[in-house]
Amino acid sequence: MYETKCDVAIIGGGPAGLSAAVAAKKEGAEKVLIIERDVKLGGILQQCIHPGFGLTYFNKELTGPEYAGAFKEEAKKLSVDALLDAMVLSVDGEEKTVTCVCSEYGVTKIHAGSIVLAMGCRERTRAQIQIPGTRPAGVYTAGAAQRLINRQNIVVGKDIVILGSGDIGMIMARRMTLEGCKVHAVVEIMDYLAGLTRNKVQCLDDFGIPLKLSHTVTRIKGNERVEGVYIAEVDENKKPIPETEEFIPCDTLLLSVGLIPENEITRGAEIEISPVTNGPTVNQYMETSKEGIFACGNVVHVNDLVDNVTVESEKAGKYAAKYAKGEMPSRNRTVPSVCGNNVRYICPQTINISGEDEKISLYFRVMAPDTGVFLTASSAGKEIYRKKELRVNPGEMCHVVINAADITGDDVTISVVK
């Protein structure tokens, strides 16, 4: 078996891994190695050829390849190493080793000073939403179809129905239409749009693509290939109303029905996983429950903006470098961040009180939309932060920054109050 050594090993060469690698180098880590299963760096951004990236980080609107390109360029300049076409099989959290199999060296073991998990997420498939009917060809996840059309020059069908009104679904509706396909409908089980209004305007309305809210696909018809789908309106319990069922002839069904952080390796390393985010729990250094193993990006929680992924990944990379050099802040006591009123989850889940003067960023999602609210943080029964927010939405991440010195109690509670 081939064995090699590095200071910081990063699993995944998408936006999270690239940002972490650049930050680790800048923090002074000597050998930083990205392990990537694709033959190229850039991750999912390579197929996201549409604009909308970089508005908060770069202050300009970029396409996915441009956004990834900026970090690939910087990683190259800083001599970040990359092992491509390499699939990680396991991580040993105690020994800090990564075992992978790659086309260049076969089975390879990497001994690292610290490890960053940046594997991203994958799409939910037909199996996870259980659509009845036959099992013909022509049912794709939106992301798989996007990769085929944007990177491999393969258009997966001609007559399309899309289930799910998330941004990927709507962006694919526009993309397929521009390439000459007919998108018959975007079907959404909720009574509101899952993605951004901007995408409804520019991806659906511009092309006259109907959006069917409170509807779902009830059956798929076809033997060899999809011949059509049945859709129906749903009642308030999301149950299809049989008498509203209608048939739409089509040859392709695209699914845009959510993402799941990809954490098989994390679980294998016995790292604690949050049941809410389905990603590892982390502290403010993006360090998991195993010291010296960090995580960032969509493997931790599914983000709505790549710009946020970059910011948290820079933190992971920076502290992974510090860990490898034995320069982590001292660990005095750990307090959890607690979800108060209308807060679904918070990242980081724990805060290390190092005694140093430190600003701590907490990202969180609300459970329900609201307007005219205050984002608050409190510790030991005392309010330590308050910010007015015009509107909050489960689809958009909220953010507060608190002073470590203000955390005097045994926890920090984040609440969204009127």
Binding site: I49, P51, E61, N150, R151, N153, T197, R391, N393
Partner: protein, 117 residues
Amino acid sequence: MEKEIICTVCPMGCHIFVEGEGDRIDRIEGFTCKRGEEYGRAEFSHPVRILTSTVKITGADQPLLPVRSEGPVPKELIPSCMEEIRNTVAKAPVGVHDVIIENICGCGVNIIASDTV
């Protein structure tokens, strides 16, 4: 002509009602900020979009090169722009932001590479 426009400047999604003809706007309401008003006027008279797509590429280890319009193109020209993009073949090597199609459909906007290939 009367048009209802959903503002896309920020996530608020204000519904703006515009009445007028061509460049002439007789009535505009429903916006809640200055940028929203500007968007409403422009979207009524001259709607524009950033166009992104791919062109075929030869001499590379991938079949496609992602491209985008350097600036916004008039919305009504998008189908003809796509036609021109479909008929274009780029040749590697290509650097990010290299011009792939100059002045597409005569609208004064270039189609540029979104990636280095």
